[in-house]
Symmetry: C2
Subunit: 200 residues, 2 copies
C-alpha cells in the first residue's frame, strides 16, 4: 500500500467517525451561547456570529451593556445595517470606575435590560447579542432570575449570545455552548496600546 493509499484509508475511517457524530446531532433549535473568561475574543466572537446571522438574512438585535468611552469599530460598521436587518442599542454607561456613580450605573443597566427583554420576547428576532451582560449580572445591577426566566421563555428558534467576564454558574448551567476565553498573553501587558480594528 502506498503512502497516499494509507492516508486515504485513514481519512476514510475518520470521515466515518465524523459523519456518524454529525448524524447523531439531530436537534434543531435556537441555542444559547456564552463567551466568558479573561481573554480577548468574547465580544468580537459575538460580533462575528452577528455577521454570520446577517449573512443568512436573519433579523438581529444587539444590546451593548457597557458603553466604551468612544465609538468603536463594530458600532460604526454594524450601524450601517441598523433599521433594516438590525436593531443596535448602545445602552450602558462606561465602566463603573469611569462613572463612579452606582445609582446611575444600575439605572442604565436596567434600561438596557428592558430593551433586551423585549427582544427575547419577540419571535421577529432570529439572533440577539447581549454584549457584556455578564458584567451587569456579576455586579447584580440586573437580577439573574429575571434573565433566566426571559431566556427560558424565548422563541424556540431564537439564538442568543451573551458575553462578558465572570458568567454566573446559573447562566452557564442553562447555556448550550460555553467558551472560556483564556489569556495566554495580551499585547496590553507588553505596553502596546489598544488598537483600532483589534480591540476598538
Amino acid at each position: 500500500m502506498t503512502a497516499e493509499e494509507r492516508h486515504r484509508e485513514r481519512m476514510q475511517r475518520k470521515k466515518e467517525l465524523v459523519d456518524r457524530k454529525i448524524a447523531r446531532a439531530t436537534i434543531d433549535r435556537g441555542v444559547l451561547v456564552v463567551n466568558t473568561g479573561n481573554g480577548k475574543g468574547k465580544s468580537s466572537s459575538g460580533f462575528g456570529m452577528l455577521a454570520r446571522s446577517l449573512g443568512h438574512g436573519f433579523h438581529c438585535g444587539v444590546v451593548q451593556f457597557i458603553k466604551g468611552t468612544f465609538s468603536t469599530g463594530e458600532e460604526a460598521f454594524f450601524r450601517r445595517f441598523a433599521g433594516d436587518q438590525l436593531d443596535y442599542h448602545v445602552m450602558g454607561e462606561g465602566f463603573t470606575w469611569e462613572t463612579q456613580d452606582k445609582a446611575r450605573d444600575i439605572a442604565a443597566a436596567q434600561a438596557a435590560w428592558t430593551v433586551a427583554a423585549n427582544m427575547l420576547a419577540d419571535p421577529a428576532y432570529d439572533f440577539v447579542l447581549l454584549d457584556e451582560l455578564n458584567i451587569a449580572l456579576v455586579k447584580q445591577y440586573i437580577q439573574l432570575d429575571q434573565v433566566l426566566a426571559a431566556l427560558a421563555a424565548r422563541p424556540p428558534r431564537q439564538h442568543v449570545v451573551i458575553t462578558g467576564r465572570g458568567a454566573p454558574d446559573g447562566l452557564v448551567a442553562v447555556a448550550d455552548t460555553v467558551t472560556e476565553m483564556r489569556v495566554v498573553k495580551h499585547a496590553f501587558d507588553a505596553g502596546i496600546k489598544a488598537q483600532k480594528g483589534v480591540e476598538l
Copy 2:
C-alpha cells in the same frame, strides 16, 4: 460616609490604577493576534475584528484556509464589501477527511499561502485575517519558518489575526495577543446540529 460615597471612593482608586496601566501602554503598532484552543469562537472572533477594522475604514484581506462544505454566513455577509474595502479569498479544500487526497490538500494550502504572503508583503492592507491557518501549519502543509519570516517582515502598522486549533509554539512565541478558547460545553455534544448564524 454613605454607601454611595464609599462606592465613589473605591471606584476613584480603581480608576487611578486603570488609568496608570493605560498610560504605561504607549507602544502603537500593528499586532499579531492568535486564536487557538478547541472551543468555539476562534474564527468568529476573527470575523468580529474584521468588522471592527471595516468600521474604521481599514483595507482588509481575508484568506480562509479551510473551505466548508457549503457557503457560510460570514462569507455571504462580508462578500458584500469585497473589492471595495476587502479582498476575500476562500482558498483551501474541505477538511482532510473530506478530500481524502493529501497531495490536493497540500497544493490548496500552498496556493492559499501564496495569496496570504502577498497580503503580508503589501502595506495597502491594514488588517489581514488568516482563518484556520493553524490547521495547515499543524499538518505541515505550509512550513512554519516561511510564515514566521513573512510575519516578521510585514508592514509595521499591519494587524494580523491567525486562527485554528493547535497554534505552533513558534507562532505563539512571536504573537502579541494569544487566546486559548477553552470548551466549557458545546451544543453539538448534546446532540444539537450546527446552527446557521452561530456555527455556519
